[in-house]
Symmetry: C2
């Protein structure tokens, strides 16, 4: 079932839904002309369709393996990765100073989306490099930038993130890995890290690990963590690779999905590393990496949803049954396909709006755009991956019995996408971030966004009242929930409904972007899809908000003994 | 992570929620005294915990294989199956006339639930035998009953259902398999059937296939289908096995889950079979088998949910993080666990209410009970399996990164349960059945159930107003939806929202059963869980009903071209 990158969807979203032009009219992105964007999207789409997508199934059926301490990746991965790298696609948003294209993050998000649809396991490799590039750009020394950035941006070297330890999952502050000064400016890094995606591989010549570890005498918790850059092979100043570092892959995990992505248990045994950023500022640097990666993971969810949707649609169009031309004429099959498409649009718009906000923040330096990006990041991550899971699940269902057979390929999307709701901070962690940290401004960023929605809905009332009115009303309901939230000082009361709150916020945001699409094409296909979404899916927000506003009392009244009863 | 059968939950549900006593007070079930029920549940629970559950992981890691035309099942399956059979657990509801225990279907449903939690792949084998026993009890000749029922009930032989052909999935009427009279009362059955669960194996000595096929000159469509009993080895009148029949396993499917259940492509090449029921009445007979199996599959979903819940709870109770005693103290983890438990209760109550309605129909012969059972069957199947999927998915999420690692065992629940939403009629087919066939009475059966709920809610208002009021209101909203539905003569308008309608119906039913539980224990653990469900999960019904009542126009306005755009 060939995958076709939805290039024109991205163009439409940029032009009519998320206003990318605001960013590309700034000096910073002056090179990103409409022609350039068109060319970038088209070329990326071609690469994904023709080079990357054909490797997807092999990643599943021939997982990466560890042989004599060396990781061998799935058939075709090395060649496809090299074409990604040679085309300059690893980090198109990276700074031109070190070889990047300096394109808007919104465009990079679109490319990540397409690459993920084509092969999630493989795309994870450049996504991690992107995060590492961001971290080094923001926190690395000039020498580190000069040495590492060109190699990472070109894809000759790849990056990893090393946070998790066996005893410390989401609670990163419990990490025990150690770093001791060697006296020559380098450090000896020791410890075990788990869930290291692309911890080792054969698709590029070097692997650069960013490792959180504790210096001697460092305090407990996250404040005692520093960040170290630990390369697999130690480069000289020119980037020529020297000795192998003292680190190894202990084992690869056998996972539910993304079999093509080698997930390593890494062991560092006085491995040579260099401090990135200040001592004790490791979490801060890591957050730079993670925030970007969170938007990237949201785009992974959307990409997988797109792949699963196309796969299911092609099957349904081809499948005859009874008197119908195809099963697409069955109401329930059409409902599933329309829901899938409508949700993909909503989730994709949120990721691109988040990317655009990042671009606006970079281009204008305005704090409001920073706040907008910060607000949208957890929503983009959690809703993008939630949509990825739902759509992949519906994709299996559209296939009927065939969906459960591995050869069909539908199940792989569902197994692969499952991890996206877990890594880079579980979706529960995203929701906590949204209702706590992202509401520390008293809801200012949220209210600004809700004001924008209501303003657009007011405008749309004249021409599309049946769509504009429910969007406006849902936004008011959401506003009341935000007001409740910021007034609630008991954090557990916020947390107890945080996931439903995030999902309600995403539902409403999705209706806003659908409304904008309908305004751009009031008689077209996009207005019909918007009508479906607003009539059938948006009403979900009310139940979610009721849940979100329930507080914590009834929840904590259910004791652990009750749960075990 | 050991599984413990929730025996006391079943006792509570029978006694306080679904009124099984009404059935056991009838003459038909007079033997099912409270002591007998207690003993049955306890013994079944022990078997599941000690014998069956330990084989679950091996089914996943060592799938059934086809070797030289013979299926070899997973390690430990044969021994566990034999203990199931020897204990008389294959078909406890089967008629005592042929060796069954004649127990209520509600009890059989509880046992199916526990067996599924312990090992879904293995449980599927006796579940199929149960369906075959029902079909032969209802439609077989006296000779067929005398020959086959004792062997199937004892588990010495097992049963399969052969409906699906490669070109005919849910559209069974397109089946092409043929049967020609041999002149001696037997028939030569030829054709290929796919997705035949337990189509061959080594856990019992014979496999009896019920095969839908067409007699010469039979009309097109479902009316031309007759049902044939085609044994793997042809028995003589005493049940002694003779020659191998002319049938074979072409291949086994590689599936997303239930690896321990051999899913065969079967080839019949003039295999000897015997007509069950009248010529052309194959679908009718098959529906007897399927209706029972549908309730059974609903119980599978609930069982898997229970297994996944226990697995996640044990992990969460044990997992320390940060300053908390365990991650159960994190609000979002507790929310997930409470949702899982509350949904399991709701779905389980629906399956047991359905079983009880079947028992009442059998015991009293009253048509109202038949109608109640018919109404509840698609809800029990679709909601039971939906809850199975959601809970297994949350179970993975509670585990965090560990959930995605196969060794943990959480992912197996999710992969295994996925098929239950597809087989025995996809959940979309169940929803169509609910809004069409099950509403052909003008909504009478539905209204009778809603009347019952409102009556109980009225009674509860005095003591539990905060629970009774929303249940009553939700029931009214559902009543309006049923009224809308039965007045809607355009079937596509019903079908377009049929799945959301079914889920809304289940949500409301779940709140009813939770309310009854709270009434029985107003200060206890069950009331706290009911409060959680009614406050947080029940509000979902409103959005679902809005979706259900949207009609078909906006849906079919989205053309196949729009979907492909």
């Amino acid at each position: 079932m060939p995958y076709t990158s939805p290039v024109s969807d991205f163009r439409f979203l940029f032009d009519h839904v998320v206003d990318l032009a605001r960013a590309t009219e700034t000096e910073l992105y002056a090179d990103a002309t409409p022609d350039v964007i068109e060319a970038i999207l088209t070329e990326a789409g071609k690469l994904c369709d023709e080079v990357v997508a054909p490797t997807r199934r092999a990643g599943d059926t021939h997982p990466a393996v560890l042989e004599n301490g060396v990781v061998r990746t799935s058939p075709g991965f090395k060649e496809a990765y090299q074409q990604i790298a040679e085309g300059g696609w690893v980090a198109i948003a990276a700074s031109p100073e070190h070889g990047g294209m300096g394109l808007p993050q919104a465009i990079a998000t679109a490319v990540n989306d397409m690459l993920s649809a084509a092969n999630l396991s493989l795309q994870l490799c450049p996504l991690l490099s992107q995060g590492q590039i961001d971290a080094i750009e923001a926190h690395g020394s000039d020498a580190q930038k000069a040495l590492y950035l060109p190699k990472l941006i070109s894809g000759e070297w790849t990056g990893t993130m090393n946070l998790t330890e066996p005893q410390a999952g989401s609670d990163v502050g419990a990490a025990r890995a150690k770093a001791e000064p060697n006296g020559d400016g380098s450090y000896a890094v020791s410890g075990q890290k788990i869930y290291i995606s692309w911890g080792d591989h054969d698709v590029a010549e070097n692997v650069c690990h960013l490792v959180l570890a504790r210096l001697p005498g460092a305090p407990e918790g996250t404040k005692g963590l520093s960040l170290f850059l630990v390369p697999k092979y130690i480069p000289d100043e020119d980037g020529t690779l020297g000795a192998a570092n003292s680190l190894r892959v202990v084992s690869l995990e056998e996972k539910m999905g993304i079999h093509g992505s080698p997930t390593a248990v890494m062991e560092y045994d006085r491995a040579t590393g260099w401090l990135v950023g200040a001592e004790g500022a490791g979490m801060k640097a890591m957050f730079t990496m993670m925030n970007n990666a969170r938007l990237g993971v949201g785009a992974q969810g959307v990409g997988i949803a797109e792949g699963a949707y196309q796969h299911a649609l092609a099957y349904a169009m081809d499948r005859k049954q009874g008197a119908t031309a195809s099963i697409v004429d069955h109401a329930d099959v059409r409902r599933m396909l329309a829901s899938m498409k409508a949700d993909i649009f909503a989730a994709r718009a949120i990721t691109l709006a988040c990317g655009t906000a990042i671009d606006m923040a970079r281009a204008t330096g305005e704090r409001d755009w920073d706040a907008r990006a910060a607000l949208l990041t957890p929503i983009a991550k959690a809703f993008g991956t939630e949509v990825g899971m739902r759509v992949a699940d519906d994709g299996v269902q559209v296939h009927g019995g065939m969906g459960f057979i591995e050869e069909t390929g539908a199940a792989q999307y569902l197994r692969d996408v499952r991890v996206t709701a877990i890594y880079e901070g579980t979706n529960g962690i995203q929701a906590m971030d949204l209702v706590a940290r992202k509401m520390m401004d008293g809801g200012e960023a949220a209210f600004a966004l809700l004001d924008e929605i209501e303003e657009v809905a007011e405008t749309a009332r004249a021409t599309l009242p049946d769509l504009a009115t429910p969007v406006w009303q849902a936004t008011e309901t959401l506003r009341e929930a935000v007001e409740w939230l910021v007034a609630e000082s008991n954090m557990n009361a916020r947390f107890a409904g945080s996931v439903p709150f995030l999902m309600a916020f995403a539902r409403v945001l999705g209706s806003y972007y659908h409304l904008r699409a309908a305004m751009a094409e009031p008689e077209g296909s996009r207005a019909r899809l918007a009508r479906f979404y607003i009539t059938r899916l948006l009403p979900e927000h009310a139940g979610l908000i009721a849940h979100a506003r329930s507080g914590a009392e009834d929840l904590f009244a259910i004791t652990p003994d009750d749960l075990a009863a």
